[in-house]
């Protein structure tokens, strides 16, 4: 396992260039998250009483569902026209390709969050634009992008891949969901760093464990 930054960046840059030209993934995440916001608004009416406690759940559930669509998309475009095989023929390791894809997915998710946070704040009048929540979001996104890329790379080769990704990914991502929702809720209810500390620890632990696990297992995911 030897991963150098040059090829990793080349793979990520390819994804970014594609995204700049057709804006498929980020726009899909945004539109879908926005729709889930609207639907949640009917399902659980967010009032002045409950919005600070329930709001973070709405935000993160919407984002994680939308992220699944983006992750699926990022590997389906590789499958179309056998682009993935082309990359695998190039003289770089399989893990390098997947680290690059992870980096690309991470940047797409962060880009979507940059738009989603102000929109959510405006729609529900819950201020999530606070440094504590931004750190929570950054840590959560690293974990989501890492595990999500692993499972998207797996599921794209299966039948019923649209089902396989969420079914595999959601149980694994449960700690992220719990920690992101609860951590964000602590802050929206007027807490500060000390109230969010234990949730930040869970997110950091998840990130460390799964970044290491990803680097060790990426080589097994793409072979055929």
């Amino acid at each position: 396992m030897k991963i150098s930054l040059g090829p990793v960046w080349a793979v990520a840059k390819k994804d970014l260039l594609l995204e700049v030209r057709n804006r498929e993934i980020v726009v899909s995440i945004l539109v879908f998250s926005g729709l889930v916001f609207i639907i949640f608004n009917f399902a659980i009416e967010l009032t002045r009483v409950n919005r600070d406690t329930v709001g973070p759940g709405v935000l993160w559930v919407a984002f994680i569902f939308a992220a699944i669509l983006g992750l699926n998309r990022s590997f389906i475009i590789e499958k179309d026209g056998n682009a993935l095989e082309g990359m695998m023929l190039s003289p770089i390791g399989r893990d390098t390709i997947l680290v690059g894809k992870t980096l690309g997915n991470l940047l797409f998710m962060l880009a979507a969050l940059v738009v989603l946070f102000p929109v959510f704040t405006a729609l529900f009048n819950v201020n999530v634009l606070k440094p504590e929540i931004i750190v929570i979001a950054a840590l959560a996104t690293v974990g989501l992008a890492t595990t999500g890329t692993m499972f998207a790379a797996l599921s794209v080769n299966t039948r019923a891949r649209e089902i396989m990704l969420p079914v595999l990914f959601l149980p694994i991502a449960v700690p992220i969901l719990i920690a992101a929702v609860e951590g964000t809720a602590q802050i929206t209810q007027g807490g500060n760093w000390s109230e969010a500390a234990e949730w930040l620890q869970i997110l950091a632990a998840f990130d460390i464990v799964f970044v290491i696990a990803a680097l060790l297992t990426f080589q097994f995911l793409l072979e055929d």
């Binding site: 299966t158 396989m164 079914v167 149980p171 694994i172 700690p175 719990i178 799964f210």
Partner: protein
């Protein structure tokens, strides 16, 4: 060789059957009824062994999957598959018996306590694992994918439990916890539980080995089919693999035993 394995299996199955019958007698006749919880407490003697089997099964899946990734030997994958199927069965029964026990005691079928939450997530994860095996492309890639997923799942369990535990304590307690825990067991109850755990473990081992052997036979058949295909489409007789030649010889013999 084959016969001796067959005999061993029969003996094992018979011993397991006797053990299970003894367990049933102990649970329903011999063991005294728990004073506070009543008759429904007898679910404990089935629920706990099932939970134990699920836990062992998850451990076996993870260990066998890791061994598959290290060695690449197909039999490790077969062990993982056999254990995952047995584990999902035991886990399902554990959830059902747990709910039956919880309803009269806690007054709810289900509560989002850390243990229950983790169990539910784990159950979904292993169902997803079996789905992945069903949907994956055939061959070694499927085994590798399944092995990676199983290892990742095992790594995730402690984090899920820790997060669920913290999440639970962050919320108010909704129901009254179990009135009496296993600490309140009499020696007869303890013995019944022990015998039940042994009986269920024996059953698990039997099912695991049986499923493993069925799986190995399936793989053997698919290997033979592939060789037959190679034989049929072989350009010349010198390309015919040895197994296919012996198969052809075997097919010419009359079917005995």
């Amino acid at each position: 060789m084959v016969e001796s394995i067959g005999t061993k299996r029969t003996v094992w199955l018979f011993a397991t059957a006797v053990l299970v019958l003894v367990t049933m007698w102990m649970i329903f006749e011999w063991v005294p009824t728990e004073r506070n919880l009543g008759v429904v407490q007898r679910a404990l003697y089935v629920h706990v062994p099932l939970a134990w089997i699920s836990m062992v099964a998850v451990g076996v899946v993870a260990a066998a999957s890791l061994m598959y990734l290290i060695t690449g030997k197909r039999r490790w994958d077969s062990i993982a598959l056999a254990s995952a199927e047995t584990g999902v069965l035991a886990g399902t029964l554990m959830l059902v018996t747990g709910a039956i026990w919880a309803k009269p005691i806690w007054n709810v079928w289900w509560t989002w306590d850390a243990k229950l939450t983790t169990t539910a997530i784990l159950w979904f994860f292993y169902v997803a694992y079996l789905m992945l095996r069903a949907f994956a492309p055939p061959g070694n890639q499927a085994y590798r994918m399944a092995a990676v997923v199983a290892v990742l799942g095992a790594v995730d369990v402690p984090i899920v439990y820790y997060a669920a535990d913290l999440w639970r304590t962050a919320h108010p307690e909704l129901i009254i916890g179990p009135a009496a825990d296993s600490s309140g067991l009499t020696s007869e109850m303890g013995l019944t539980l022990l015998v039940s755990v042994v009986a269920f473990t024996s059953l698990y081992i039997y099912m695991l080995v049986d499923r493993y052997r069925v799986r190995q036979s399936e793989l053997e058949i698919s290997d033979l089919k592939r060789e037959m295909r190679n034989y049929l489409y072989a350009p010349s007789t010198s390309d015919v693999p040895a197994t296919a030649q012996s198969l052809r010889a075997a097919a010419a013999e009359p079917i005995g035993d």
